[in-house]
Amino acid sequence: MLALALAFGAAASLVGCKGDAAAPTPPRACPDETDPVAVGAPGLPAVSAPADNPQTLQGIALGRRLFHDPILSRDGTQSCATCHEPAFAFSDGGRRFSVGVDGIEGTRNAPALTNAAWNLVNFWDGRVTSLEEQAIEPVENPIEMGETWDRVVTKLQRHPDYPDLFCRVFGTDVITRTRVVQAIAQFERTFVSNNSRYDRWLRGQLQLTPAEQRGLILFEDERGDCFHCHTPGLFTDLVFHNIGLEASPVDRGLAEATGRATDVGKFKTPSLRNVALTAPNMHDGRFETLDEVLDHYISGGVESPNRDPLIRVGQGLPLSEQDKQDIIAFLHALTDTSFVNNPDFLAPDGTP
């Protein structure tokens, strides 16, 4: 890299001798080593980073700063963290719909980012697969950050710190949209939650309370029948379901991405890890409490196109009020306080 820089410098000098063209700034000599970081965690399914975006300490640090920096938004008021707050498992702090730069509300509840590295698909309707692709959209969404990527790149390129930070990660100080979202995705892949009371119970480090134990049993048998979609481990099957919320879904969900009538009303199963911190619930945040969520399933919901066969419309779940409270107790055992209080997820020094 250094040799190339010297050669380019010599060429620039020659060009400069011809007269009126301003001498270009020679490329920065970037460090040619980064520190690799493994993706994944014990107790969770195997996962890996994309081959073209390997996880590094430097990339994570850059992504952390970008995630918290409102420079990504048109008026400098919105960062990723504005709607994805670490203390709420990277959901939007109790808001049903997030508010963008122009004060306009969105139409879907900001999803939590717990264990984002495992997301095979992203957004409630699964319209993109990778975290890198996901990070592209909010910047230019007019009711979110409302900015253009060209302007973001220009702002970052002129910033006193960012060219050097990109240099350390990508071996070049030339900032591009791709490199921005790659860094953000690297940071998001560190959002690992596997230290809840449930996890520690699995590891034999504590006993669940009687209510939590009863809730777990209901969760994992067909009376509660939670486990088929909220499969233990990630507590999501990463698949799409219509759970009988509406007879005629206002939001078409997965069908918006696929165009298929058989996908109308289907949304990605959210993880239940940290669900006690991510209210309101459902894609549109219609349920403020876990009680309301359980009441929906216990009632059986309503007949709807493509409703999932496991949603017992007209029958509901055979659960008592005590059963419901036990399941909720178990759901609270999925809260990972070390995850939501992890200082590595907070805004780093230098972030506005």
Binding site: P45, E220, E222, D237, L238, P309, V313, Q315
Partner: protein, 257 residues
């Protein structure tokens, strides 16, 4: 992928039953080939169409299929001289994902094969937590430990019309049953043996394994969808399905490709 060619088993076979066929040796110079197993699905003989309540079962219920995911495992091809060739792994099939419905057996030794055997579901050794590769497909087949543990053998889900004409869900999930009153698990995997006829000599063959869903619900036990879709811990229903499933499979037209 673990493959095995049954040299040791052949020796045993010859010693015990004399099932080798010295009069029909593999042609000198014949080359290994490929066999592509294609899982196909019918209902009452008609090709399966998802998401449509159009199929009558033997109990008189009209039903649809929304989800059909299952494992076949331990596939073995049997050569006419007693040699066997197989895959010691589970084959995951999801009807909604065509990429999961073809399974290629590479380097199949040359010769004439007369039968194929496979296990419906997973045997006891594979059907334990962590018994299959750690990936989203297998993880979503999780079968809770208190119900027996391991994995679903299969998930067939859909809607049916009850006697009042109302849509209800069914979930024909098969797997192991563990009950508090029992000292042992109740496994419900079974072996299917089907005749085939193909001669491998450096070529690639497509072998369709056809599963007819109605067979699961009618032969020999007429199975009606229960009012509440809870059968994972229902020993009687799991046994009925196991008995019915054996006749659900056939081999379609084998073709060279």
């Amino acid at each position: 992928m673990k493959r095995f060619a049954g040299a040791g088993l052949v020796a045993l076979c010859l010693a015990v039953s004399g099932c080798g066929n010295d009069e029909n040796p593999v042609e000198v110079g014949a080359q290994p080939g490929k066999v592509v197993l294609q899982t196909q699905h019918t209902v009452g003989g008609a090709d399966l169409v998802l998401n449509d309540i159009r199929y009558p079962n033997a109990a008189g219920q009209m039903y649809s299929v929304v989800t059909l995911i299952y494992y076949l495992s331990d596939v073995v091809l049997h050569r006419d001289d007693g040699v066997i060739y197989g895959l010691d792994r589970a084959l995951y099939n999801d009807v909604a994902d065509a990429s999961t419905l073809e399974h290629t057996l590479d380097d199949v030794p040359a010769g004439t094969y007369t039968a194929i055997t496979f296990t419906w579901g997973l045997d006891a050794e594979k059907n334990v937590a962590g018994g299959l590769p750690d990936n989203p497909q297998n993880n979503n087949m999780f079968w809770p430990g208190m119900l027996g543990g391991g994995y679903h053998y299969s998930k067939c889900e859909g809607l049916y019309l009850d006697t009042q004409g109302a849509q209800k869900g069914y979930a024909t999930h098969t797997g192991r049953v563990r009950r508090d009153i029992d000292t042992e698990d109740h496994h419900h995997f079974f072996t299917v043996t089907l005749p085939i006829g193909l001669t491998v000599d450096g070529d690639t063959w497509s072998v369709p394994i056809v599963m007819d869903l109605n067979q699961w619900y009618e032969d020999p036990n007429v199975y009606d969808f229960p009012d509440v879709p809870m059968i994972m811990n229902d020993l009687d229903r799991q046994r009925m399905l196991m008995e019915n499933g054996a006749s659900a499979f056939s081999i379609g037209g084998i073709t060279s490709r």
